[in-house]
Every structure is written in C-alpha cells, then in structure tokens.
Symmetry: C2
C-alpha cells in the first residue's frame, strides 16, 4: 500500500491557473487546498513562461510554509504541444512560448522533483484512474470547450505522440468552412462550445454567453438552436465513428462546456452512432466525472507517480 | 543474447496461405523454407476454419519430419477482426468465421505453443522491428491492396483495440460514394489498389489487371490515368493528415500493391502533405521494406517472442 504523499498540482490555462495542495495516495488524492490565479502574461512567450515559473515557485513556497507535511513533488500541466519526456513546452498558440524548458526551470527554482505534462492528457489520466474512463483500456477523453482536444488512452496507456497526439478538433470531416489551421471542415468549427454559440448568433443575430444558452434554447423549442445543435451532434458523431474505426474504442468520455448539456448531447449522439456503426467497436458514451478539477487531479497523480517511481 | 529458435509461421490470406519454416532469433529470423497453399474453403465459416486448422497441422507435421531442429512454436496470423489475447478469430468478412477459437484448436492439434494474431498487425510488427518502421515509436504501417488496413505502432507498441483498431480503409473523408460499410466517402473507395483499377475502367471503359497498369498509364502520359491517380493521392493525403493530427506520427509506411508504384505515389503524396501540415507532426513517408513476407515474418517474430517469454 502506498503511503500518503503531499504534492502541489498546477493546471495552467489560457485565462487562469488552478493550483492545489494535494494529499493522499494515487488511488485517492484529496485536494486539501485550492488557489486560482490569473495567468501571467509577458511581452513574449518566454517572458510569460518565466513569469509562470515564478508564480508557481511562490505558490509552492506559500504552501510549504503552511502545510503540516513537507511538499514532496510538484506536477505542472499546460496547454499546447508538450514534450513530457523532455519536460519542455514545445509550443502554445495561446500563451506564446516555444521550446521552453519548464521542468528544468521549475526544478532549479523549487529544489523538488517536478513532473511536467499536457493539460488534456493529465485530465484524461485522472478520468481514467478516478473518473468516467475507469475500467477501460481503450478510451478517448474529450473536453469540448473553446477548442476540442483529446486524451488517448490506448492499451491502458496515454498516447502522446511526442506531444502532438490528440488534436481531434482539427480532424477534417470533409467540405466545410476553412479553419485557421488551413484545413476545411474541422470538427471544432462545428462542435466546440465556442462554435455552437457563434453559429447560433450568426444564424439568429442574437448574442449568447455560450453553448449552454443554446442548449437551453433547444430545450425551450427554439428551431434555430435545434438546427445548430443537430449540426454539432452530427459532427461529433462523425468524429466518434472515425475515432473508433481507427482505434477500436470501448468508451468516449465527453467533457468541457458542451458536455454540461448532459443527455441533450448524449442521447442524440448515441442514436446517431448506432446508425453509423457497422463492423466497428461501438464505444460507450459517457460524461466526464471530474469537471474542471480533472487537470489538477491529473497533475497530482503524475507527481505522486513520480514519487512512487 | 537469445538462442536460435525454430518456428513455423503461417500468414492466412483470402486467396492463399503463405507458410514458412523460420530459424534464428527475433533480431534476425531467416525463412529457411517456404510453402504456399490455396486457402481452403468450407461450406460455412466454421468449416473453413476447421479446414485451415487441419492444413496448418499438416504443414507443421511435414516440417517436423524434415527439419533438423525440432519445431518449438507456431505463429498464425489471419485477416479480419482478431482477439489476439483470447486467441480468437472474431470475424472475417472474406473467410466467414465468427468467434472461432483458433489458438485453442491449433494447440490441441499440434501440442505446441501457438500464437494467433492479425495479419496486418503482424506485418506492422515485422516492419517495425526489421523493416521500414524500424527506429520509430509512433508510426502507421499501411498495406494498400484490395482494401486498406493499418498497423498502429504507438509508443513503441502495436495497438489492437481488442482487435478492432486500424480500419483506415473505412475512414470517411466526407461526401462521396456510399461504401459497403454504410458510410460515405471511405478512403478505400478512392485509394485502394482495387479502387484505382476500378475507377480507371469506369472512366475509360478499358479493363486493367490492377493499379500497377494504371500507374504505368500515368507514366505513359494517359490523362485519365493521371486524374484517377491524383484522386487516390489526394484521398491518401487526407487520410495521412488525419492520422497524424490524431496520433502524432513520426512515419507512415506504405505497402501493398499501390506502393509498388514507388515514387509515383510517394512524391505527390509528400508534396500534398507539406501543403496540409500546419501544427501537426509531419510524418516521414516510406515504402514498406518486407513486401509480402511481412505477415509471415511477423508471425515468426510473435512465435519467437512467445518462446522468449
């Protein structure tokens, strides 16, 4: 039985940073204290990364002073392309860095073991060990927010592809709008939370705060909302059949803003998937269980794994 | 250093069976004798499978009598959906069986250790260890013949998805012809060897023996052949960008009949891929190195691995 550990977990987002002091063992980590900070922004990507390292060092210092148990390791997860093996933030479109050696920089500042990884993969790890993907060896965990990325759990391990894997938002589903990535008809142009909101406003002229407003309009019988929603569901169904044709999935776990719609998303998606499946393995569709704590929990699990060797 | 082993490897195809007596170690297996037999066909899938087990038992018996070294294990690979862990042929559209317990049946007949797996995955294993995918941890090995399937080498391991993974021929690339699988625009309707030949004949009324005739017509300046070829290249480029967007690939290895065209395939495919790639990992494109021996070599490697424990 593993002993109880004390680690700090940090999930860096484009807008804010979620950090937690986490205790327990990898089978049952407990977030005993939480902090949220605005993500610092420098004039360049490297300056942003430097500021981030300083902020994380300060958080760890504060918790070190307050925690009854000494902090043993730190787990940090960030968006973009991450080379976890090298501990490098290869690229973040949103935060601007290129090839920044986060792990080395954090180790030097903290004098503690540090694990550095990708936010979505870490969230997938948490769902796989503690959440909706538990018990599966072949599953995709897909948070649907401003964009759509996925953690690929294959043969019981998370596949990283050198940091490049899981960009399901940029799977082209054929003809359609041109995407910023250069392709046409990318999934996230139709099915991200942001796309659902944008497309509803384009269609009706009515601004909405997000996909959840569109979901509520669907429930209220708004035919424009229903049409936009149906297109998102169709695009997701095409993506799920594609994923299982290629990967042979037992489960697809949907998270993020769009999945807040619950059965309004799952029921029609499941029906459409039943129509599309022939020889393929039919994955179970599930809602993510850990909400926006998945990234932090995943970072904590990675830090605890590091300590267990 | 592993000692030299003697195994029998059998690669079952829809038309014929390739078998080999293989000696050496997993780093350098040598096909010391080869046999080819027509694939037996029974009135039902189960009878076909029974006849196959008998035929393999006869082959092993013959080689047992002739070989200077005793046969230590047998590796058998088949098409369709294969549950390698259970040793079961789950389904073969072409050969008709459903849930046939090949490994148990072969073990009982042979009294030898038996490994049972999927033909394309085994071929991918051989290319990964001995051929064009050697040195990569993240690669797809894609034989392009009558259909298109792929072996997925991810994080240095072959991903099977319970036997369901790798059906790249049925990735839908958007609108297009209806496929037998129920989807529209499947890759193999445009880019399999069979599709290239069929589409050329539909367009011109001229029968061809296969894709290689179309390739030769392209080289001779036939504009219809060039148009059909360009459509196949475009479909493959769309599939390759999709694969690397999702999986972060270092390499894509093309084999089978269509890859016999060599640079006529690789050069335009590479050019188109360069246009399509933005944030994705750009995989190297390579031609398969082991030809139609890949399946047999893979079956031999699996049998030798079994002996090494």
């Amino acid at each position: 039985m593993p002993s109880s550990r004390t680690v700090v977990a940090v999930d860096v987002g484009g807008t804010d940073i979620k950090a937690a002091l986490v205790e327990g063992d990898p089978a049952a980590p407990v977030l005993v204290d939480r902090l949220r900070r605005a993500t610092p922004r420098g004039a360049t990507g490297a300056e942003t990364a430097d500021a981030l390292v300083s902020l994380i060092a300060d958080l760890v210092k504060t918790w070190s002073a307050e925690s009854a148990n000494p902090i043993e390791a730190v787990g940090v997860v960030v968006p973009g392309i991450v080379d976890a093996e090298a501990g490098v933030g290869v690229f973040s479109a949103n935060l601007g860095w290129r090839d920044y050696p986060f792990r080395a920089a954090l180790r030097e500042r903290l004098g503690l073991p540090v694990v550095f990884d990708h936010d979505v993969r870490a969230g997938g790890l948490a769902e796989a060990r503690l959440g909706a993907a538990r018990g599966f060896t072949d599953a995709v965990v897909m948070p649907i927010g401003t964009g759509i990325a996925a953690a690929l759990l294959l043969g019981g391990r998370l596949h990283s592809g050198g940091g490049y894997a899981g960009e399901v938002g940029h799977l082209s589903l054929g003809a359609g709008e041109r995407c910023g990535c250069g392709q046409h008809g990318c999934l996230e142009l139709r099915a991200s939370s942001a796309a659902v909101a944008r497309r509803y406003t384009e269609r009706t002229g009515r601004p909405v705060r997000g996909a959840i407003d569109v979901a509520n309009a669907v429930r209220a019988g708004d035919p424009d909302a229903a049409a936009v929603w149906a297109e998102a569901v169709e695009a997701l169904a095409q993506a799920v059949i594609l994923l299982t044709t290629l990967l042979g999935l037992q489960a697809v776990v949907l998270g993020g803003g769009l999945a807040m719609a619950g059965e309004l998303l799952l029921a029609p998606l499941g029906d459409r998937l039943d129509e599309l499946v022939s020889f393929q393995r039919r994955p179970e569709l599930r809602l993510a269980a850990l909400g926006d704590e998945a990234g932090c929990l995943g970072a904590a699990l990675l830090a605890m794994d590091l300590l267990e060797g």
